[in-house]
């Protein structure tokens, strides 16, 4: 069991990145470690309610950045936050979670396992004393620490009005760069991101863009992320209508006009090739690269 540390601006350890912001925390509680002063840090943020596309993107960006020794900072929340942190740790990188509650309070409880892993492979940071309940007003507050500790804020998916926009405004006040992952128009989950882009945010079309902005040389080999194994003509046809948002077998059938019987076989084979996932109830979705 790691000890909880408490440090104030009078301690040398106290991150400079936090000293220089408005409303700098009077002290922070730490479990695990603090981000390395020289290591590049990227905050990956997004909504708690996210689409499969958002999940896939959070995983992809977190993984590639972590592989290049970029620390991933986020809010340990459900959805994008947790997924990105999990992916960073899975890729052997470091991740830091900024909490909106006491450091010994696990919220949401579904992220319990992630808590333990983040303490081990990075650290938990909060300005609230141990035992503090996760009160609603504390979450917007902690967002300023997320943006302050990172060099770049990457928004994966955000609805028009969400907590993510608070992180973004804090980041802008603090002079950080904002990147957003573009989404489809009319896709409610991507509306916030597209708006950010229209306002001048960086367009995160690949992890390389972020790495470049950080000044990190990419040691990325040709990513096999979106490489697709050999497929038959009909498999390709079916795959072309399955995206990161779930589609029903009826929809696939109507669009491709392949008979149901044949379709079942194709869908089965695509599952075996690990390109799509059967969500149950006849819904299919493209699988995010592992």
């Amino acid at each position: 069991m790691d000890k909880i540390k408490y440090i104030t601006p009078f301690d040398e350890e106290y991150p400079d990145k936090l000293r220089n912001i408005d409303n700098s925390p009077e002290g922070i509680y730490i479990k695990g470690s603090l981000p390395n002063k020289d290591a590049p840090c990227v905050a990956i943020v997004g909504s708690r309610v996210c689409s499969e596309y958002g999940k896939a993107m959070a995983k992809e960006f977190a993984k590639e950045l972590a592989k290049n020794n970029v620390s991933i900072i986020s809010g340990m929340a459900r959805g994008i936050d947790g997924i990105a942190q999990e992916a960073a740790i899975n890729a052997g990188g470091k991740s830091y979670g900024i909490l909106g509650c006491g450091i010994d309070v696990v919220y949401p409880i579904s992220n319990k396992r992630l808590y333990e892993r983040v303490v081990e492979k990075g650290g938990l940071i909060t300005e609230y004393p141990p035992g503090r309940e996760p009160l609603p007003h504390q979450f917007p507050q902690r967002n300023r620490i997320i943006s302050a500790l990172s060099d770049i804020v990457l928004v994966i998916e955000a609805k028009k009005r969400s907590g993510t926009s608070i992180t973004v405004s804090r980041a802008l006040e603090q002079g950080k760069d904002i990147f957003a992952v573009p989404g489809r128009l009319y896709d409610a989950c991507s509306e916030g991101c597209n708006e950010l882009i229209s306002q001048g945010a960086g367009i995160a079309i690949s992890p390389d863009i972020i790495l470049k902005a950080l000044g990190v040389d990419s040691n990325r080999q040709d990513s096999n992320a979106f490489r697709v194994p050999k497929l038959t003509k009909n498999e390709k046809k079916v795959l072309s209508v399955i995206s990161f948002s779930p589609v029903s077998i009826d929809y696939i059938q109507n669009t491709t006009e392949i008979s149901l019987q044949e379709l079942f076989e194709i869908l089965f084979n695509l599952q075996l090739k690990e390109i799509i996932i059967d969500l149950g109830q006849g819904n299919y979705i493209k699988k995010a690269p592992a």
């Binding site: 459900r78 948002s245 009826d250 059938q253 059967d278 969500l279 006849g282």
Partner: protein, 505 residues
């Protein structure tokens, strides 16, 4: 003076013969009604007295004892007024001695002497026939219900006076006889919704065809307004037409429940859709002597539970026994009642509270909320559901398109029928009739896989993390799909399709 009339009583689904005996002797004028009687039976005294007076017969001022025997179980229900009146009239020498020896009488009397309809006529007429009686006298309003029993004379009467005149040969009443077979033919599924009325929804229609062919329980998931209820209502139209035996069995249940109208018997395959606020008692059958509940009313038909996550947990638990044993046993202080409950379960659910998951443009439910919502479906229930299918919202194009390709129910039913024939032949030595009822040893016996299919299942088992229980479900469904395909062996295609009807959260 003593006189005896045969009648019948319903105990749950079972009819029992009883005797109504009257004795008129000298003594203090009184009328005593004995025989372990419930209140409604005891009240018969006043009804009979008044009805007889208003029909022109005065009860003599003597000591009258009326006994309903045997006395060892409680008599409830109506229908004893007419036998009581006739036994009294027998004692008064108004009707001939011995004329009712081979007759079973049933009927409630109004104060003016009219004979009113009662419930549970059909099972009691069947009982009379089995007991070797020659004739039944029943209320005229119940005539069509009783007339379907062959081999017994069924007389419908409207008033007490008419009954007396008939028994004294002052008027003729012809016995009525209806042929169930003929009625079923004439009916030919008029009430059903036809499948060609369901627009789009190819996957759903296919799933329903499989469900009907192998009697696999079905779960439909989909957003509001996707036609879940409509399709469920259409399901009976592709199930095999009722046989006369099935028809009589169903009608017996409906007769006991008092749900048969004067048109006679139940000719359509039952479709029962209780609201999700239904109590456990209403689903299983309730009351001191339980009336058939929704599970029994759905016997041989479809039990449709819309919004199944909204049902109370205790209510859903009731389904366990019927799904397992095809009957429901209800225990009461005085007896245990068994009702048939062999139905095809069709459940419908929204995928989440708002109903639009996984459409993230409209659904704002968190993953946890979605899981929690579907988590309300209990494991034992899901175990019994073989097929799970997604319904999609009906698009405008679907609505307005003149879809000539849509199959009618009759076409689908033909395929279902031939699949059922294959199953009947296969299970001729086993005591089941459809694929869904196969036990693991039978699955092993009848769902043999060749090397090629085994490899597919092995790969699926590893890659798709299939549980052993789900493995059996796949085989059962694949067997039905193969039957629909008129194939003796299960081919890869059948397996692929069977795996497409998976439920997961």
């Amino acid at each position: 003076m003593y006189y005896k009339v045969n009648s019948g009583i319903m105990l749950g689904m079972n009819a029992h013969l009883i005797n109504v005996e009257s004795d008129v002797s000298e003594g203090m004028p009184s009328i005593d009604l004995v025989g372990y009687l419930a209140n409604e039976v005891r009240e018969a005294r006043e009804r009979v007295k008044t009805a007889m007076k208003n029909s022109g017969y005065f009860i003599p001022a003597k000591k009258i004892t009326i006994n309903i025997s045997p006395g060892n179980f409680k008599k409830s229900g109506t229908g004893f007024d007419l036998p009581i009146a006739l036994s009294l009239l027998g004692c008064m020498d108004i009707i001939t001695r011995d004329i009712l020896n081979d007759t079973l009488c049933l009927g409630e009397l109004g104060l003016n002497g009219e004979v009113k309809p009662i419930i549970g006529v059909l099972p009691r007429v069947l009982l009379a026939k089995e007991a070797g009686l020659k004739r039944v006298i029943i209320p005229h309003d119940n005539l069509c219900e009783g007339a379907v029993v062959e081999g017994i004379e069924v007389i419908g009467v409207k008033t007490l006076n008419e009954t007396i005149d008939y028994l004294n040969n002052k008027c003729q009443i012809e016995g009525m006889q209806l042929s169930v077979e003929k009625m079923l033919q004439e009916y030919a599924g008029k009430e059903y919704i036809d499948f060609c009325q369901i627009k789009g929804q190819k996957a759903l229609k296919r799933a329903m065809e499989i469900a009907a062919a192998g009697l696999h329980n079905l779960l439909m998931m989909g957003p509001p307004g996707a036609g879940k209820t409509l399709s469920a209502k259409a399901l009976p139209s592709i199930m095999p037409p009722l046989s006369s035996e099935e028809c009589l069995n169903i009608s017996k249940i409906y007769s006991v429940a008092g749900l048969l109208d004067s048109g006679g018997i139940k000719l359509s395959r039952p479709f029962v859709n209780p609201h999700h606020t239904i109590t456990p008692q209403a689903l299983s059958g309730g009351g001191a002597i339980p009336k058939p509940g929704a599970v029994s009313l759905a016997d041989q038909g479809v039990l449709f539970l819309d919004e199944i996550p909204e049902f109370r947990k205790e209510t859903i638990e009731i389904l366990r026994q019927p799904l397992e044993e095809k009957k429901i046993v209800i225990s009461r202080a005085n007896a245990t009642y068994t009702y048939p409950a062999d139905f095809l379960l069709v459940a419908a659910a929204n995928p989440c509270r708002c109903g639009y998951y996984p459409d993230r443009n409209r659904c704002n439910c968190s993953e946890v909320e979605v899981k929690r919502y579907l988590g309300r479906l209990s494991g034992p229930l899901l175990d019994r559901i073989d097929i799970c299918v997604q319904t999609k919202e009906v698009l405008f194009e679907d609505l307005v398109s003149i879809d000539n390709l849509s199959e009618t129910s009759e076409t689908i039913r033909q395929r279902v029928l031939s699949a059922r024939e294959r199953q009947k032949y296969r299970f001729k030595d086993d005591d089941i009739s459809t694929n869904s009822h196969m036990s693991p040893p039978l699955i092993e016996k009848y769902c043999k896989l060749t090397k090629r299919e085994e490899e597919i299942m092995e790969r699926a088992f590893i890659k798709m993390q299939i549980s052993a229980r789900y493995f059996h479900k796949i085989l059962k469904i694949a067997r039905t799909i193969a039957d629909l395909d008129e194939s003796d062996n299960i081919n890869p295609n059948h397996l692929y399709e069977a795996m497409g009807y998976r439920f997961s959260i």
